[in-house]
């Protein structure tokens, strides 16, 4: 695989029936820089109408966060990210990841609590709580004596086979167990279910939000999840291997077709738009994304 350069566009629009006062939003919509993997060449986030205040910072996991405040009433809001990103393939490597017992020992030897520490990615998190059903599935599926990397691929493939991609079958608040029981959902559900499964085996797992290329390379099938922001799993496979990205919706190890935007424990940490609106009426939102290779 060769490095890819993409032009990226994410447009998220909200329309409010009743104009909202005192809107305040947190946005995580800017592609990240990941040394050796992904480089943001240019990037700009525009907001319409212009907010009364705007500030930038990084959250705990290192994601770029933009906070915007509107002190006047707004009837509609549109956030548009335009960026050019270089994406490099992950290095080819042998599977040097440990078996799960050894992995557990490696984890407990670690005393690091920085953003990439595996300790954050075990146990229940707000959107990816324990589930006895998913845990049982994980135990039944995991290869006996398999390495961490094998386990990730096996669980991911099994989930992809079990669950059907179906837009509209779930919503943003559907618990993973419910999606798993129904055996269907969208990328967010696939990702949460797999996170819960891996954690049940003691494998640290987190959530990546991002985009996949809108049109496939010539001769390849179109990937699921290209018409909105996408999500996939990150799993920690030991000190030697570190974090790997795996896309359960499309059953593949992430390569150069994906662009990462934010990392977290589950969706709650990376939601592209968190908003608080004092509005009595309903709102409608509309997302449009494009990830197109630059020739």
């Amino acid at each position: 695989m060769t490095p890819m350069i993409y032009d990226l566009r994410v447009a998220i629009r909200y329309d409010y029936d009743a104009p909202s006062l005192n809107a305040r939003n947190l946005l995580r919509v800017m592609p990240m820089n990941r040394p050796g993997v992904q480089r943001r060449i240019t990037g700009a986030l525009s907001i319409e109408p212009g907010p009364d205040a705007r500030s930038e910072r990084q959250d705990f996991f290192g994601n770029a966060v933009t906070e915007v405040i509107f002190q006047r009433a707004v009837a509609a809001l549109e956030f548009t990210t335009v960026a050019r990103v270089e994406r490099r393939p992950p290095p080819e490597r042998l599977d040097l990841s440990p078996e799960l017992d050894r992995l557990r020992a490696e984890i407990s030897e670690g005393r690091d609590l920085t953003a990439s520490s595996p300790h954050h990615f075990l146990g229940a998190t707000p959107r990816a709580g324990h589930s006895a059903e998913i845990a049982a599935f994980a135990r039944d599926t995991a290869p006996a004596g398999g390495t961490a990397l094998e386990t990730v691929a096996t669980i991911g493939r099994a989930l992809h086979a079990e669950m059907r991609f179906e837009a509209g079958a779930t919503d943003v608040d559907t618990p993973p167990e419910e999606a798993f029981r129904a055996r269907r959902g969208v990328c967010q559900d696939f990702t949460h279910v797999m996170i819960v499964a891996l954690r049940a085996l003691g494998l640290p797992a987190g959530y990546a939000s991002g985009l996949i290329r809108t049109e496939p390379p010539p001769g390849q099938p179109r990937l699921e999840g290209a018409d909105a922001m996408h999500a996939w799993v990150r799993a920690w496979c030991g000190r030697e291997t570190g974090w790997v990205d795996y896309d359960p919706t499309n059953d593949l190890m992430v390569g150069t077709d994906h662009v990462s935007v934010a990392h977290g424990r589950d969706y709650a940490d990376v939601a592209p738009v968190k908003g608080a609106l004092r509005s009595s009426g309903a709102s409608h939102s509309n997302h449009a994304v494009d990830l197109v290779p630059v020739i």
């Binding site: 305040r24 705990f60 520490s117 300790h119 075990l122 709650a268 968190k274 908003g275």
Partner: protein, 798 residues
């Protein structure tokens, strides 16, 4: 011939001779060498009381608590229940010297907790150096990542703490739990003290008891000093549904602080403001009684409906100080107890002066094995629980036995759950005397001790709060399990001089000003006024209905039917003797009152509750007609009682104005409707009398007009009279004078929209002609008054 008085010593002996303290535990009253000296003076007086006198005195204490409206709420599957505050009347007595030791140990512990909190949200050395396992932090829901790296404006994470401490069989004290999230009970301690002083008034001596008030004043001043800017100080409560809401309201009233909920606040830029009837005002310190995760839906739990979006931003910008800092609750983690003693050695360079409950985290191999081997002597539960050891949940094994469904093999269960479990030694507490109606009985006791950070360091409240078990079991200590609460007296050898803390006159004392009425509180007061008046109107209507029904015995009598129709138009059923809507209206009034208990007299609250109780009591037994009319007449006295309290007792704050505006507006509007129905030219014979009766003006009419009622006299008396408090004009004038005094009503001679509108209505009524007041004009007037309500809401209540 009179019996010989028993000598004090004999009486004392008789009192304690039947007191059988358990062998293997310590007792507060009886030390290793017999009666502890600190108890003697109190018990000598107590021994002189006969049983009837004890009962009478205890009742006096209870009466105080009821009058003060002290209650405790708890939630169970069937909903929330309110219980009287369960005061065990006999206080727990401790000597000053012993207390000094306790206070010193807890000050040390407070410093330790501050250091741990600062590290968890700062450098992270404790985890990095292996003093604290990373899993207990990284997987802990109480460790709030958005606050990592955020240093509080005051430089301190902790400002107000409580500790649960118990006495071991060997007589020494130990800590069972630290409360750092939003410690409760300090306000209840004050009420315990007042009620206990009432119980043990003369001839009991109080001059050796350390006072509590100084503690609060010192903390109030310290909060003033800890503010990052000169914005207001307020208490942030989750609202009336909270278990300890009474206390939030009580402390707010006691310290003169605003009591706010998340929706009272907005964050403009990075400055927190409270929405008041005088516009938004900056807030710079919140004494938080709301759990941190609920505080900001934007950055913390996004499912919270009771938070304030942007609060974390304000903290990050250094514009808002929270007591305690968001995220401080992580220190309550049960498993931390296993590591704090070692951390103390490292951080403070010395041992803990008071040990904490022995704790083993099952995430470590040796500790796990120990817990499995000693399960019968332990309480084993969730490692990350923030609850106290004796607040056992179903997934907790006590002495090897489960509260919920038990696993087959405890050892295997512990091994499987590993780091998610923690074992704590089974607690043995000391006993203290409690009165069982006939004598003193030993009951397990636990002290809750409060510490507040002041300019001179940690200030420990001298006494005030003990929990007493209902049975000998330590788990019976929780209030849900029927435990009770007692005052704690710290007794000096010498008389205590006034307050134990000198007032510091140079520290600015910030008192909530008259105009600082939060909009939401104003809204509730306004609607309280409206609902109470509506209740009265409904009662009068229903009474008029049942009187006519009794008189005619027919529901198709034209007058009966006319009243029924009018009631129907207001959504009130005429069928039952005491309509359901009446119950709903009182319920609505109570709900409003509940939300403003910090601004509202306990007597007014009691009056409302009594009215509701009277209604519920009578409802099932009352038949229509005469019986109903009489019952309604009795209820009317209840509403009159409330009105009297508001009128005679309530301080003329802005809040009182909103309540009074609500009453006036509702009365005026209802009367316009009554006149449109009963003073109409088409109304059946006898309707004018109904209007006068509902308007409570029968006597006045007779005296003023000396003739039978006719349309003109009724309109004159009930719509246009400026001296009849039942007339529309009178009430609109009341409103006008109240509205004039609201903030922003008159800016340099320019009247607000509301003030102008009220004045216009008043003028119309003052100049109106009786003949012109037909049904259409009355209906229009009713709508005009309703519009005044909308103007008021838009200007002040949202």
């Amino acid at each position: 011939m009179a019996e010989a008085e028993p000598s004090p010593t004999d009486a004392l002996d008789a009192l304690i001779s039947g007191y059988a303290a358990p062998e293997s535990v310590a007792d507060e009253m009886l030390g290793p060498d017999g009666l502890r000296p600190v108890w003697r003076p109190f018990l000598e007086e107590f021994a002189k009381l006969d049983r009837a006198e004890v009962t009478r005195r205890f009742a006096r204490g209870d009466q105080y608590l009821r009058d003060a409206g002290v209650f405790y709420r708890f939630h169970e599957s069937g909903g929330a229940t309110e219980r009287d505050w369960p005061l065990a009347h006999v206080p727990v007595l401790l000597g000053e010297a012993e207390w000094r030791g306790i206070a010193a140990a807890l000050r040390q512990r407070a410093d330790l907790l501050e250091a741990v909190c600062a590290d968890l949200y700062g450098a992270g050395d404790l985890v990095r150096s292996g003093m604290l396992p990373p899993a207990l932090v990284a997987q802990n829901p109480a460790w709030l990542r958005p606050l990592v790296g955020v240093r509080p404006a005051s430089g301190h994470f902790l400002n107000f703490l409580s500790f649960e401490i118990g006495r071991s069989p060997d007589g020494s004290w130990f800590v069972l739990g630290d409360r750092t999230e939003a410690p409760s009970g300090a306000g209840f301690a004050l009420e315990n003290r007042v009620a206990t002083m009432r119980t043990f008034g003369e001839p009991f001596r109080h001059d050796h008891i350390h006072r509590l008030a100084g503690f609060f004043r010192a903390f109030r001043e310290a909060m003033g000093a800890a503010r990052p800017t000169d914005g207001r100080i307020a208490i942030l409560t989750p609202g009336p549904g909270a278990e300890t809401y009474f206390e939030h309201a009580y402390i707010a009233r006691y310290l003169g602080l605003m009591l706010l909920e998340g929706e009272d606040l907005t964050v403009r830029g990075s400055q927190v403001e409270v929405r008041t009837v005088a516009g938004p005002k900056p807030v710079s310190l919140l004494w938080r009684r709301l759990d941190a995760t609920f505080a900001d839906p934007l950055e913390l739990d996004d499912r919270s409906h009771i938070g304030t979006p942007g609060l974390v931003s304000a903290v990050r910008a250094g514009n808002l100080e929270l007591v305690n800092a968001l995220g401080a609750g992580v220190l309550q983690t049960r498993a931390f107890m296993a590591f704090l003693p070692r951390i103390a050695q490292r951080v403070l360079g010395r041992r803990l002066l008071m040990p904490n409950i022995a704790t083993w985290w099952c995430g470590q191999a040796a500790e796990q094995a120990y817990v499995i081997d000693n399960a019968e002597r332990m309480t084993i539960g969730p490692a990350l629980s923030l609850d106290l050891p004796f607040e056992a949940t179903v997934d907790t094994a006590i002495a090897g036995t489960f509260r919920g469904e038990a696993p087959d093999d405890l050892g295997a269960w512990i091994a499987a759950k590993g780091g998610r479990l923690v074992g704590q030694e089974a607690v043995t507490l000391s006993t203290t005397p409690a009165w069982d109606g006939a004598g003193l009985q030993p009951r397990p006791v636990l002290l809750r001790v409060f510490a507040a950070r002041t300019g001179e360091g940690w200030h420990v409240m001298p006494g005030g709060y003990a929990r007493i078990g209902q049975t000998a079991e330590a788990t019976a200590l929780s209030l849900r399990a029927g435990g009770s609460v007692a005052d704690v007296w710290v007794l000096s050898d010498r008389p205590v001089q006034g307050e134990t803390v000198r007032p510091a006159p140079d520290v600015p004392f910030h008192r909530a000003g008259q105009s600082l009425l939060p909009s939401r509180a104003a809204d509730n007061l306004y609607w309280l006024g409206r609902y109470v008046e509506r209740v009265e109107g409904t009662i009068r209507l229903a009474r008029a209905y049942h009187l006519r029904l009794a008189e005619t015995g027919r529901t198709d009598d034209p007058r009966v039917a006319r009243i029924a129709e009018h009631m129907e138009s207001l959504g009130v059923e005429h069928g039952p003797a005491l309509p359901d809507s009446l119950s709903h209206q009182i319920g609505a009034a109570i709900r409003c009152a509940e939300k403003v208990r910090d601004r509202f007299s306990p007597d007014g609250w009691t009056a409302l509750r009594a009215l509701d109780a009277a209604l519920q009591r009578r409802r099932p037994r009352i038949g229509p007609g005469d019986e109903a009319a009489r019952a309604l007449g009795l209820l009317l006295r209840g509403t009159a009682g409330f009105g009297g309290l508001v009128h005679d007792n309530m301080y003329r704050f802005t809040g009182w104005r909103f309540l009074s505006i609500g009453r006036a507006l509702e009365r005026a509007m209802a009367m316009a409707g009554v006149l449109a129905s009963f003073a109409s030219a088409e109304a059946p014979d006898g309707s004018f009398d109904i209007a006068v009766e509902i308007g409570d003006s029968v006597m006045t009419h007779r005296r003023r007009y000396l003739i039978e009622t006719n349309r003109s006299t009724v309109i004159d008396l009930l719509a246009l009279d400026d001296r009849n408090p039942r007339s529309i004009r009178f009430q609109i004038s009341v409103m006008r004078s109240l509205v004039e005094k609201l903030p922003g009503s008159d800016v340099n001679g320019e009247l607000s929209t509301l003030a102008r509108a009220v004045l216009r209505t008043e003028t119309t009524l003052a100049t109106a002609d009786v003949a012109a007041m037909d049904d259409a004009v009355l209906q229009a007037l009713k709508r005009e008054i309703a519009d005044l309500s909308d103007l008021l809401s838009a200007a002040y209540l949202t």
